[in-house]
């Protein structure tokens, strides 16, 4: 066995103070020792033993793979070759526990490979006793937990982002409710308008969570212009042949900061159409055409088949205010509306960099 893996000096391999390990059935003496040695040698975990002064006595194949030292290089050296300089104080404490007959279980720490790189490991150290029950060495099992640490860090990052996003969405919801209340004429109207706006926001933000396999963690993802429009108009969209809104033209990813604004803006277009425009009539249709040219994204919202429309006079409601302020303020764009006899045509132009971040 490489590196003198067989327990030196006829040692019993024991599990701390729990007494000698049971021999496999039908095996005894040398064959049992070989059996255990084979288990150790084939383990993917690094398994080594060290004396009570911290000198390495045995070194398995897993240790070679994890730390980069061969058994010949490691055996006889101090175990401190594996310990980064800023953690050298750990070893005396571990040895002290071992001398007292105590184990160190699943201690998460950092060790150093032969090439100097650092690895996150979970460490279990247990005393090894001789036939008289005296503690003469320690076994050490090190498991590489670098990947699980990375996964944990990714999860924590995602949770922080979600926490931030949830707080901001609630803040936005409070503002939408408050602003809607300023132009509502009655409580039912406020409930209807604010509820619909919040629902549009919820649909928009649902797009930003990707849905992987059922047991995989969700992550954030980029939303595209088409998918956002599709989500916002969904309540007004029919099925199959009776689909009432069509989306054509170029598509692009849109950045998080403008997602809410664009969602609420599109919601106002759709809501106005349902109340006064093409979507108020059974045969009404809306074509939404997206084009990108010279750094500008142009969205043309064309209504057809609805009742004759005329320019609203003195419309100072929140919806109208939202449209103007969102386009010029949040999106840095322009909007023009033409109330043609056959239907309203909205032309929204937004700098591409604002939209895509």
């Amino acid at each position: 066995l490489s590196g003198g893996l067989a327990p030196p000096g006829g040692l019993q391999i024991t599990a701390g103070a729990s007494g000698p390990a049971a021999c496999p059935e039908g095996l005894s003496g040398e064959r049992a020792a070989q059996h255990y040695a084979a288990i150790v040698e084939s383990s993917a975990d690094a398994i080594l033993s060290k004396d009570l002064n911290g000198v390495i006595m045995s070194w398995n194949r897993g240790a070679e793979l994890l730390f980069g030292y061969t058994a010949e290089e490691a055996v006889g050296k101090s175990v401190t070759i594996l310990i980064p300089a800023d953690r050298h104080d750990e070893e005396p404490k571990i040895l002290e526990r071992v001398r007292r007959g105590e184990s160190v279980d699943h201690y998460e720490t950092i060790r150093q490979r032969k090439d100097g790189s650092l690895i996150d490991i979970s460490l279990t150290v247990s005393p090894i006793k001789n036939e008289r029950g005296e503690i003469i060495a320690a076994s050490k099992i090190a498991r590489d937990i670098t990947e699980s640490k990375r996964a944990q860090a990714r999860q924590e990052l995602l949770l922080r982002e979600m926490d931030h996003r949830v707080k901001n969405l609630f803040a936005l919801s409070i503002s939408v409710l408050s602003l809607s209340g300023r132009s509502a004429n009655s409580v039912p109207q406020l409930v209807e308008s604010a509820g619909a706006r919040l629902s549009a926001l919820a649909r928009a933000h649902a797009l930003t969570l990707s849905h992987g396999p059922a047991n995989a963690p969700r992550s954030t993802k980029q939303t595209t212009l088409h998918s956002l429009i599709e989500a916002i108009i969904a309540p007004h969209q029919g099925e199959g042949e009776s689909r009432r809104l069509s989306i054509v033209g170029c598509d692009m990813e849109i950045s998080g900061p403008v997602l809410s604004s664009l969602a609420l803006l599109l919601h106002e277009f759709a809501t106005n159409s349902v109340k006064y425009g093409a979507l108020s009539a059974t045969a009404g249709r809306v074509q939404i055409h997206c084009a990108a040219r010279s750094g500008t994204v142009v969205i043309n919202w064309t209504e057809l088949g609805g009742p004759p429309v005329t320019s609203p006079i003195g419309n100072h409601g929140f919806g109208e205010f939202l449209i103007r302020a969102t386009v010029t303020g949040q999106l840095g764009g322009e909007i023009s509306r033409e109330w043609k006899p056959e239907g309203l045509v909205i032309r929204l132009s937004v700098p591409r960099e604002r939209l895509t971040g």
Binding site: R160, D163, H164, R165, V166, K167, N168, F170, A171, L172, S173, I174, S175, V176, S178, L179, R182, P257, S260, S261, L264, A325, T326, G329, Q330
Partner: protein, 125 residues
């Protein structure tokens, strides 16, 4: 009856238009003068141009590279005494708060902020 702090000026630094608009509406309704900025750069421009700013409310994440922490520090260089309220969904970072800076965690209502400003101007904390 005239609101107690009517005529005072608040600078609202918030990148989300809806949230900023809601806050501005509440303060205007109470007779405050409201200066609005979505970015740190715009906020500092307003501070340089303004005759007086009585209180600053700033989000942490803004629409440009500056943060609310940067804005508050820069504002205090120009106006060392001005009260500052940080209003954000991001974690508080005590170490970066300006002296006597108040941190309020989102979500909160514009009315909460109005009360906090009134309290700051009345008591200094």
């Amino acid at each position: 009856m005239r609101a107690p702090f009517a005529g005072r000026t608040v600078l609202v630094v918030e990148d989300d238009w809806f949230v900023r608009e809601d806050i501005a509406n509440w303060f205007r309704q109470e007779g405050w003068m409201v200066l609005e900025a979505a970015t740190g750069a715009k906020a500092l421009e307003l501070v340089r141009e303004a005759q007086t700013i009585d209180v600053v409310i700033t989000d942490i994440g803004l629409a440009d590279a500056m943060t609310g922490w940067d804005v508050a520090e820069a504002v205090r260089i120009m106006s060392p005494e001005v009260p500052v309220i940080y209003a954000s969904g991001e974690p508080d970072n005590d170490g970066r708060r300006v002296s006597e800076g108040v941190f309020m965690s989102k979500p909160l209502t514009a009315h909460d902020l109005l009360l906090a400003c009134s309290r700051l101007l009345s008591t200094g904390r």
